[in-house]
C-alpha cells in the first residue's frame, strides 16, 4: 500500500521521466482507483485510521515544503496544525459554519500566520529557527488554555461530526475519508506544481546556497516567506480536517509530541519528497499506536530511534532513497535522478 501510493509521486519528482513513460499515468489512475475502493473493503475504524493517515500526510507535506525544499527547520508545525483545527472548531461551534466551508478560512489564516512568522524567521538561520519553533511548540498548549473564551480552555470544544450528503448512501466515516482523499490529492497536485516549477527551484536554490541564490537574482526574503506561508497553509488545512474528522479539539492534543511527530514522519518518508509525506502519514498514525502496547514511554523511544536510524542510514528517507531506484526500474529510458532527490539531505 505504502509503496503503491508513493510510486507516482516518485515519478512526479522527475518531469523528464514523465514524458518517457506512460507508466506514470497508469500508476496514478490505479492508485486513485485503489484509494477510492479501499473504504468499502475495510471496517469503519480502519477507514477512520486511513483518513487520519491522509490528514497527517497533508501536514507532513507542508513541513516538507518548508524544511525539505527550503531548508528552514520547523519543530513547531503542531502549532499551525492547532491553528487550523481551532479555526475549524470555532467556526463550526460558535458560528454554525458548515464543515466544508471552514477549510478555506483555515487555509487563509494558516497562510497569513505563516507569512507573519516567516518574516522574523528570515533572520534566524539553521538551528535558531529550530529553537524558536521549538519554543512555539511548547507554548502552544499554554496559549490554547489561556484564551479559554475562544478555545474552551482545558475542556476543548466538542464538535458534531458532519453528515454525508443525503442520497449518497455511505456513512459518515467513509464520507470523511473521501473528503480527506480529495483534499490530499489536491494538496499533492498543488505542491507538485509549486515545487517542480520556478518557485520550487528558487526554494531549493535558497536551501542549498542562499548567497548564490541571491546572486542569481532570487528574492530570497520573498521566497522564504512564501515557503513559510505555503507550508503552514497545508498544515493548517490538515489541522482543520483533523478537527472535523475527530470531532474534538483540546490543548493537550497539540503538544510538542505532535510537532515532533511531523518531523519524524518527514524524516522517515523523505524530507525533500512529496511522496514521502504519505509514508510519513502512515508512520505517524500507526507506529505510536503499536508502540503504546509495549509501554507508555515506547512511542517516544521509537520516534527517537527512528530519527537516529534514518539520519545515519537513509538521510533521504524511504521515498528519497527508494524513489530514484524505482524510477529507474519503471522508466523506459534512463533519466538522471532529479535535482531535488539528489540533494535531499537539506542545506
Amino acid at each position: 500500500m505504502e509503496k503503491r501510493i508513493a510510486a507516482p509521486e516518485i515519478l512526479a519528482e522527475a518531469p523528464a521521466a514523465a514524458s518517457a513513460s506512460g507508466w506514470r499515468w497508469v500508476g496514478i489512475v490505479a492508485i486513485i482507483v485503489i484509494a477510492a475502493a479501499l473504504p468499502f473493503a475495510l471496517s469503519k475504524y480502519h477507514v477512520f485510521e486511513l483518513t487520519m493517515v491522509m490528514i497527517y500526510a497533508i501536514a507532513v507535506l507542508g513541513l516538507n515544503i518548508l524544511t525539505g525544499y527550503n531548508g528552514q527547520i520547523s519543530l513547531g508545525h503542531g502549532g499551525f496544525f492547532a491553528v487550523g483545527a481551532y479555526t475549524a472548531a470555532i467556526l463550526m461551534h460558535r458560528y454554525g459554519v458548515p464543515y466544508w466551508a471552514t477549510l478555506p478560512p483555515a487555509a487563509l489564516i494558516g497562510f497569513a500566520l505563516g507569512v507573519l512568522f516567516g518574516l522574523p524567521a528570515l533572520r534566524f538561520e539553521g538551528p535558531y529557527l529550530a529553537l524558536v519553533t521549538l519554543a512555539m511548540a511548547l507554548a502552544t498548549p499554554q496559549l490554547l488554555k489561556y484564551f479559554d473564551t475562544w478555545t474552551g480552555g482545558q475542556q476543548g470544544i466538542n464538535l458534531v461530526k458532519p453528515m454525508p450528503p443525503a442520497g449518497l448512501g455511505i456513512d459518515r466515516d467513509r464520507w470523511l475519508y473521501f473528503v480527506a482523499l480529495v483534499v490530499l490529492l489536491l494538496a499533492i497536485r498543488i505542491a507538485a506544481n509549486i515545487l517542480h516549477g520556478r518557485t520550487g527551484r528558487a526554494f531549493v536554490a535558497i536551501r542549498d546556497h542562499p548567497i548564490a541564490a541571491a546572486a542569481m537574482g532570487i528574492d530570497t526574503a520573498k521566497y522564504k516567506t512564501l515557503a513559510f506561508g505555503t507550508s503552514t497553509l497545508f498544515t493548517a488545512v490538515a489541522g482543520a480536517l483533523a478537527a472535523i474528522v475527530i470531532g474534538y479539539v483540546s490543548p493537550e492534543g497539540y503538544s510538542l509530541f505532535l510537532s515532533i511527530s511531523f518531523l519524524v514522519g518527514s524524516a522517515v518518508g523523505g524530507i525533500a519528497t512529496i511522496g514521502g509525506a504519505i509514508v510519513g502519514g502512515f508512520f505517524i498514525q500507526f507506529v505510536p499506536n503499536l508502540a503504546n502496547d509495549i509501554s507508555d514511554a515506547a512511542p517516544w523511544a521509537i520516534y527517537g530511534l527512528a530519527m537516529l536510524f534514518f539520519m545515519y542510514t537513509m538521510p533521504r528517507g524511504v521515498v528519497g532513497t527508494l524513489g530514484p531506484w524505482l524510477m529507474r526500474f519503471f522508466a523506459t529510458r534512463k533519466t538522471a535522478a532529479p535535482f531535488a532527490a539528489r540533494r535531499s539531505e537539506g542545506a
Binding site: 524544511t67 531548508g71 527547520i73 519543530l75 522574523p120 533572520r123 534566524f124 539553521g126 538551528p127 535558531y128 529550530a130 529553537l131 524558536v132 521549538l134 519554543a135 512555539m136 511548547l138 507554548a139 499554554q142 496559549l143 488554555k145 489561556y146 548567497i211 510538542l256 515532533i260 518531523l263 524524516a267 524530507i271 509501554s295 507508555d296 514511554a297 515506547a298 512511542p299 517516544w300 523511544a301 520516534y303 527517537g304 530511534l305 527512528a306 530519527m307 537516529l308 534514518f310 539520519m311 545515519y312 538521510p315 539531505e345 537539506g346 542545506a347
Partner: protein, 289 residues
C-alpha cells in the same frame, strides 16, 4: 519593595540554573557548532542517577560527585557514538539527531523511573536569611553555580588541556597540526557540558520535583539565556541566564499569569533574535562566500 527584592533574589537563584544549562549549550555550540536540543534531557537523566544514589543511602555530596563523574563519561560516549557521525552533516541532520536523543532520554527515563513525580532532597536547609530577602537554599544554588563557574574558568585558563580545548574549538585544522587530538577534545567538551547540565539538574530538582519532563521549560529558558548573552560567549550565557531568571520571576509576579511561562520564554527568544541576534556579548559570525 521588599517583595520586589525578594523576587529579584529568587529570580537570581532560578537564573543561575538557567545560566548553568545555557553554559552547557554554549560550550557545545562553540566546540561542535551545533545546538544540543537534548541538553535538558541529559541533565534530567543525570539527576535521576543522583536520585537513585541518594535513595540507595549515599550521602548527598558523594552521590553528587559520582553523578558528575557518570555524566562526564556519559557525555563523552554520546559525542563519540551519536554525534560524531553528524558532526559535519547539514544542520538539519544534527537537529534531528539531537531531537532524537531528547526523545530517547525522555522515554528511557520514563521507562526506568516511571512518569510519577518524585521528591528530590535539597542539600541546603530552607531558612530565610538577610531579613527574609532570600533563603539559604537560593544562596546555596547561587553559590554552587558560582563555584562551578570559577572552576571552569580556571580549567580553561590555566590547564594545558583547557588550552588545547580552546584551540580545538577555535581552529580544528591548526590545532590538529599542533598535535592536539581534536576529536578527543570535542568529546571532553561534551563530557564537561553534561557535567554542567547535571549540576543544573540536581540544583533545580528540589524546586521543580523530579520527573522525566522536568527540564522542558528549563531548557527553553536556558536557550533564551544563551541567546540573550550571545551563543558564542560563556560569560554571556551566565549573564543572559541570570537576566532571564529575574525577568521570568518579575513578569510572572507582576504582569502575566504563570500559566504562560513558556510563552514568555518564546516571546523573549523571538525578541532577542529579532533585535540583537548576536546577543549582548556574542560576536557576529562572518561567513565567507
Amino acid at each position: 519593595m521588599h517583595q520586589f527584592l525578594q523576587q529579584i533574589f529568587s529570580g537570581l537563584a532560578a537564573g543561575s540554573i538557567y545560566a548553568s544549562l545555557a553554559l552547557a549549550l554554549v560550550m557545545i555550540y562553540r566546540a561542535t557548532d551545533l545546538v544540543n536540543f537534548a541538553q535538558g534531557e541529559m541533565a534530567m537523566f543525570s539527576t535521576y542517577i543522583a536520585w537513585t544514589l541518594v535513595n540507595a543511602g549515599l550521602p548527598f555530596w558523594l552521590a553528587f560527585l559520582i553523578t558528575l563523574a557518570a555524566s562526564f563519561v556519559g557525555g563523552m560516549i554520546i559525542e563519540r557514538v551519536v554525534i560524531r557521525p553528524v558532526e559535519n552533516a547539514p544542520v538539519l541532520a544534527a537537529v534531528v539527531v539531537t531531537i532524537g536523543l531528547l526523545l530517547i532520554f525522555n522515554s528511557v527515563a520514563g521507562w526506568i523511573y516511571s512518569y510519577t513525580v518524585q521528591d528530590f532532597p535539597s542539600p541546603f536547609p530552607d531558612r530565610p536569611v538577610f531579613g527574609a530577602l532570600m533563603t539559604t537554599r537560593d544562596l546555596g544554588v547561587i553559590g554552587v553555580t558560582l563555584l562551578m563557574l570559577v572552576l571552569l574558568f580556571a580549567f580553561f585558563r590555566y590547564t594545558p588541556i583547557g588550552l588545547a580545548m580552546r584551540a580545538a574549538a577555535q581552529n580544528p585544522a591548526s590545532a590538529r597540526l599542533c598535535g592536539i587530538r581534536v576529536g578527543r577534545m570535542l568529546a571532553i567538551g561534551w563530557g564537561l557540558a553534561a557535567m554542567i547540565g547535571a549540576t543544573a539538574g540536581v540544583m533545580v530538582a528540589p524546586v521543580l520535583f523530579l520527573d522525566p519532563n522536568m527540564m522542558g521549560g528549563v531548557l527553553i529558558y536556558a536557550f533564551a539565556g544563551a541567546l540573550l548573552g550571545g551563543i558564542t560567549s560563556p560569560i554571556g550565557a551566565v549573564v543572559g541566564g541570570l537576566i532571564v531568571g529575574v525577568t521570568e520571576n518579575l513578569v510572572g509576579t507582576y504582569l502575566i499569569a504563570s500559566q504562560l511561562k513558556l510563552t514568555v520564554a518564546f516571546a523573549l527568544i523571538i525578541l532577542v533574535l529579532v533585535f540583537r541576534p548576536n546577543g549582548l556579548f556574542g560576536t557576529a559570525i562572518v561567513r565567507r562566500v
